[in-house]
Amino acid sequence: MNAVIEVTGLTKQFGSVTAVSDATFSVQENTISGLLGRNGAGKTTLMQLLTGQQFATSGSIKVFGESPVENARVLSNVSFIKESQKYPDDFKVKHVFRSAPWFFAEWDAEFAELLIDEFRLPVHRRIKKLSRGQLSSIGVIVGLASRAPLTFFDEPYLGLDAVARQLFYDRLLQDYAEHPRTVILSTHLIDEVANLLEHVLVIDAGRIIIDQDAESLRGSATTVVGTRGSVEAFVGDREVLDRETIGGLASATINGLDGAGKAAATAAGLELTPVSLQQLVVKHTATTDMNDHKQEVEINR
């Protein structure tokens, strides 16, 4: 496999705030990756750095083997769908789809037409008059129909209803299967996208804390429930992500419990439940030190 993105020791500071801190990771060609994390964790900043919209404070970024900054060879192959894309004031919906092909060599107008129809987008309406959800569907359609070899979706579906989101997932999967490309999806709706992802990056307070394939991550944590004594005895020095107690009962979420460990837990009379990707991300990122919340001030601008 080839790495489309290679990042080494990447740091981005805005004044005293470190939005991305010493990040090192790579993204393989033709995979769908999830970039997950809390508000203000650094997701958008990271994507802006990868698409040459911000300058790194230090570290190196290689996209298709080159620096993305001011690099047409790289950027013509990249589609970046932002949470709130701005358009010229007098633009109508149709103007977006008329101008999009100028920027994307692989633009598929027929596919765009089909999606406009499916998302029920009023093409003659002014952008300013659109609802939040309709604005999001423009981004989703541009992202899909551009067929860029590297596509970023940054929280693409603010205001999109459940039907439209499902439509987005279905079309993404279908089109990805027919036209393999590298997709990076940043979202808070982790449960909804969990099965679409092949690889998962979790960023917390600017640091990459998880960089793992989705399948192994999904089975990586287990919650054991039982009497307080038996849970404590079982936990021992295993790595615990989360603990809860109710009366005489206790539960502990244990990282990396293997088959033998699970058998031992069952033998000790404990109930086992698997931990979903969403719960796992919550448990990994919920314990952040309060001081880090200073970073939630609009570093995404």
Partner: protein, 118 residues
Amino acid sequence: MDESKPIFVQIAEQLENDILSAQMTEESQVPSTNELAAFYRINPATALKGITLLVENGIVYKKRGIGMFVAVGARDRIVAQRREQFAAQFVQPLVAEASKLGISASELADMIRKENQA
């Protein structure tokens, strides 16, 4: 989808179930990874892992340039494999729960016989 098992294992089991119930017969074509991905709403790479698991177990095989097909003897192999796992997967939990409830082995056997007649 069930969270307690990897998705690719569930895909493989689902296809095995279709073979067991004769919805897919030997030498018939198996859905492509893209079809499986779209149907189950999963990443195509995950679907491919499920198919690969079946190839390793001799349940399906690849016809170059055409697709994947159910192997001859696949059904017998699945039956043999599942029989091996039957005690651990079904009988042991059944006996464990029965003993918690004070159901004796002969009572349990009676219950199974009754179920079988129904």
